[in-house]
Amino acid sequence: MSTMEQEIENVLRSAPKPAPPAGLKGQLIAQVRLPAPRSAAPPLASPLAPANFLRRWWPVLVPAATSLACAVGLTVQQVEIHSLKQAIQDLSRDGGAKATVAPAPAAGTNDAPAGADAADRTQQEVARLKELASQLAAEVAQLEQMRGENAKLRTQLSEPPPGFLTAEETEALAKAKEKAESIRCINNLKQMGLAVKVWALDNADISPPDMLSMSNELSTPIILVCPTDKGRQPASDFASYSAANCSYEYLAPSAPETEPSRVLFRCPIHGHIGLCDGSVQAEVAKKHPDWLAQRDGKLYLQEPAQPPEAAPLPGNPPPADPNP
């Protein structure tokens, strides 16, 4: 409160009292008309009288009493729960002690036959366990022997003995293996080209800026490694992918899809190329490097008018001329 307010309050409290006119008191006394006293007039109720107090405060007292009763009930319950927990702990402790004491009964007690029975049972149990241990040891030895035989067989299978295949057969097998790897490489390029086209569909017909950008369109990072590239390991997932996990050259990052003959991917091992139109040309970079023309830093496939004998892979025809 400010000083001025205090000052105003002091002035108000010391306000002059208008004095009553003389004779007013006498008039008032003369005009007293008291009502007739009632026989059963109730006495003045003091605010602190019990009945008046209860009548006035019962709306508060009832919820307070209810709350107090609830609190007392909860306290009693908590005490009982605590005592029951204590009893459970005591019982479990006693049970554990009895269990430890039971196997070794005191000598000279009256229950000697029971102690002898227990000793017999223990010996039988020990014998049974020993027998079980010997059986298990025999099984382990048998398993060890089988594992050794398996390893021996595996080495025999991986290294065929000389004379198992003839030289021609071995060479044919190597060629077939090499061809299979080449086909798998072409398949990889096809899948990558398809992924580029799907990505471009969602991104204004522009190819992705790098391999990682189209990770959602690629099924697995394994297809980014050429099967013949033994020195390179595929990434376990795209989160751990790096440039070292890719065998192929990506030659058209962020390129428009309007140039179907532009080279998109190239396998440096097999010389396969993937074009922007999604097709793959086998071994072009290796056998026909003159078909590849560099213009403005971009690589294009330019087949001669009459292609030589190096035909495209069967089932993988050369791309149609966009401008017939």
Binding site: S2, M4, E5, E7, I8, E9, V11, L12, R13, S14, A15, P16, K17, P18, A19, P20, P21, L24, K25, Q27, L28, I29, Q31, V32, R33, L34, P35, A36, P37, R38, A41, P43, L44, A45, S46, P47, N52, R56
Partner: protein
């Protein structure tokens, strides 16, 4: 005072005229002063005081003792005043000059001189307050009723009385400040 007043009321309810006379002696000055401030007229105040005590005797059997006798009396006086004003269509009195003409009888001349200017301004400003605020100030400050007694007399909650008093003090402060800044002849000169 109140315990004795309660006993007096109890005795008066039993038909004791002496107790009734003692009650009149205890309260008639305060009741008259209160009604004099409300009515701003000696004759009306005396008449209203008589009406008030008449109603007190009528209401005596119904007094339950839940409030103090002082607040009960003031409540009756206040309602008598309100009824009177409504019935006779009296306008709200404004008695600024009354305070300047009637300083406290027990004050010394020095105190009168020191207080006159501020007191006249304060009392005049109280008379200019809204009726609700003015009656609250009169009951609490002039009649020396407590907050609870003031609330009982006016039939309000104590918090409402507190709020009204705060509002009244702020209003008085604002009025006094504006009076001090504006050129105004002091009350002493107006007295002369």
């Amino acid at each position: 005072m109140d315990p004795d007043a309660n006993q007096l009321v109890e005795r008066a309810r039993g038909g004791d005229r002496a107790a009734a006379a003692e009650l009149i002696g205890l309260f008639y000055e305060r009741v008259y002063a209160f009604l004099r401030r409300l009515a701003a007229n000696d004759a009306d105040a005396a008449d209203l005081t008589q009406r008030t005590f008449s109603r007190v005797w009528q209401s005596l059997p119904g007094f339950a003792g839940r409030s103090s006798v002082a607040s009960w009396m003031h409540s009756i006086a206040y309602h008598v005043y309100v009824d009177w004003r409504r019935a006779d269509r009296h306008t709200e009195p404004r008695s600024c000059e009354w305070w300047a003409a009637r300083p406290a009888p027990e004050a010394t001349p020095d105190e009168i001189v020191a207080h006159t200017d501020l007191a006249s301004a304060v009392y005049g400003s109280v008379d200019d307050l809204e009726p609700d605020l003015r009656h609250t100030v009169q009951l609490h400050y002039y009649q020396d009723l407590t907050l609870q007694e003031t609330a009982d007399a006016m039939g309000l909650a104590t918090s409402t009385v507190k709020y009204r008093l705060r509002q009244a003090l702020a209003e008085l402060q604002r009025k006094l400040t504006s009076q001090r800044t504006s050129p105004m002849p002091p009350a002493t000169s107006r007295m002369l």
